[in-house]
Amino acid sequence: MSRIKEKFAELYAKKEKALIAYIMVGYPNENATISAVRGLVKGGADIIELGFPFSDPLADGPVIQNASTVSLDNGTKINRFFSIVKKIRKETDIPLVLMTYTNILYHKGYSKFIIEAKNAGIDGFILPDMSIEESKDYIASAKNNADTIFLISPNTIKSRIEKIAESSSGFLYLVAVYGTTGVKTGIQNYTLKAIKEVKKITKGKIPVGVGFGVSTPDDVKKYIKAGADAVIVGSAFLKLIEKTPQNKLESSIARFTKSLKRQTIQT
């Protein structure tokens, strides 16, 4: 079983939901990435998504766009990224998901990239511009090596949700809002409806995580109450990283993580 699947099984047994945290590797620098990961683990995050920057992040809002630019300017390269992952792996067994865009994997070759990532300690992939229509080679390369986490949107129709769920492993990523990452905040009724719909369609065969614009403990609470198996928080962490000095980073990330995680534990 993959680390991601094990994690969801473990949480299920404890009647807990998952808190998934996203950070951009190399933003604002590598030390910050290591400190942030330590804070996330300490604060009780269940899964960490590590962003690898792409020059043209068309599904991302200003916060992640800026983080991508800074990370690239800092010289974040694939091998450097993998060595950071290895370093993280020495400290923790937490499931690690790599989030980037299709061209980064395609350019190296899906198989080669996925094997190298797996050897470094990556457990799964999220590619926001990879549609199921174009995913044959990608899925074949990931099989038995890593989970392929596909996204669905509130406007995805039932028959398509079923198909996407079949192509996905680890969890299914429900995009909460019409928009890019981190822009719209506040809870929309259509999102709560979508969570219920998707849960009904997937019948518990795969966990459903909700992300894009999730930023406060209250957001987490409401999405969990609506039936989400996981929530994904990204831009809010990047904003915190941006304004926190390095020597306080680990502890403030841990504190914020704890406040979010608390909402995923049913009392």
Binding site: D56, A59, Y106, M130, L151
Partner: protein
């Protein structure tokens, strides 16, 4: 490739898009398929193309230029005479009419040189729709005149300050807007790029260029042209010129922007110097570094300053049906001045790439041969840029 169902030209094309856009793309394809052969739709589009935009455009024999080059006869397909000053209106009228049939109230577009933005603003004004145009900040400066024109035509221009601040970033921003306002908004893409069905749809709307060339050449010389040449940015005027001629014996040449030279980093010659990859929803040739990051491009012409290219061109390159060459900024300026002075026609800098190639090819060709060059736009917008270039590069 008549209508590739999955949007594939060999390996190229496809739909690499965020899931939120899938319903919008499917709705677009459904409606495009419904209307493209619809009699009333065709009639309406035809009306606007003729009465509003000024079709058919002349096929002009450039006698002075031909004689100067001393070889083949050079004919110019005068898309520069269209309303708005470029071929872009062929596509914007088609798509804006389609958007209207789809009951979309809000139109967004990207633009490089500003010609597509202007053509979008015009089509939306005449059809009574609101438009918003994303334009790289760098392009808003070097094509300032077109920003004024868009504003006057009632379009809202959003300068894009992310990334390289040119066309590719304007497309990113337009896609982000579309993801955010997917239900209400129609994305009127300006070249034969992007996810399926855009490359096919834009090609079809631009194919009026090649269809007319066929008829006009037949009338003039009772045959198809020996050679056709068009410039390639995203590739819409080129594919519109080439597509109707693919199954003839005509030699076909696309011309990319070689900027300061293919050996420098400062060019936009995607097909000549790029490699396969995924950007803006399509698999195609791209200019990228050894890790798949898209690199910044350069061209003296904003409309060719793009690190990707339409997927059908990638296919036509690999199958060798079309040859792709390039012209440097310096050659382009020479061609610009040459056409201006010999024929009294000021060409767009984009189109001047095709002229530069035609001048090279004509010299090597026989007097009995005919070359048709698509003059995709007029150069009023570029006069300032050319002045800047000349004052920097030419010492007296």
């Amino acid at each position: 490739m008549k209508y590739p169902k999955d949007g594939k030209f060999g390996d190229f094309g496809g739909k690499y898009i965020p899931e939120t856009l899938v319903p919008a793309i499917e709705e677009l394809e459904e409606n495009y398929l419904k209307f493209k052969d619809d009699k009333n739709f065709k009639k309406e589009l035809d009306y606007y193309l003729k009465q509003y935009a000024g079709r058919p455009t002349p096929l002009y024999y450039a006698k002075n230029l031909s004689e100067k080059c001393g070889g083949a006869k050079i004919y110019l397909k005068r898309e520069d005479l269209l309303h708005g000053g470029a071929h872009k209106i062929n596509n914007t009228l088609g798509q804006a009419l389609l958007a209207k049939k789809m009951n979309k109230k809000r139109i967004i577009a990207e633009t490089g040189a500003g010609q597509h933005g202007v053509a979008t603003a015009m089509a939306c004004a005449v059809l009574g729709m609101k438009s918003e145009v994303y334009m790289g900040y760098k392009d808003t400066i070097r094509q300032k005149l077109n920003v004024y024109r868009m504003n006057m035509l009632g379009a809202k221009v959003h300068p894009v300050k992310s990334g390289s601040k040119t066309l590719k970033d304007a497309i990113n921003e337009a896609i982000r807007d579309w993801i955010t306002n997917v239900e209400s908004t129609y994305y009127l893409l300006g070249s034969a790029v992007g996810p399926h069905p855009y490359p096919v749809m834009v090609r079809d709307f631009q194919s009026v260029i090649g269809e007319e060339i066929k008829v006009q050449m037949k009338k003039l010389s009772n045959k198809t042209p020996d050679i056709v040449i068009a410039c390639v940015g995203g590739g819409s005027n080129a594919i519109g010129t080439f597509y109707p001629l693919l199954d003839t014996n005509t030699e076909i040449i696309g011309v990319e922007a070689a900027g300061k030279g293919l050996k420098s980093k400062y060019h936009s010659a995607t097909l000549s110097a790029g490699s396969k990859g995924v950007l803006h929803g399509m698999m195609t040739y791209l200019l990228q570094d050894d890790e798949g990051q898209i690199t910044e491009t350069h061209s003296i012409s904003a409309g060719l300053d793009y690190p990707g290219v339409g997927p059908e061109h990638s296919y036509l390159k690999d199958t060798k049906r079309v040859k792709y060459h390039s012209a440097t900024d310096a050659e382009v300026i020479d061609a610009f001045l040459m056409l201006t002075r010999t024929e009294g026609i000021i060409p767009a800098l984009e189109s001047s790439h095709a002229i530069a190639e035609a001048m090279k090819v004509a010299k090597k060709s026989k007097k009995s041969e005919s070359i048709v060059v698509t003059l995709s736009g007029r150069g009023d917008k570029d006069v300032e840029e050319v002045q800047r270039y000349l004052s920097k590069h030419v010492k007296n």
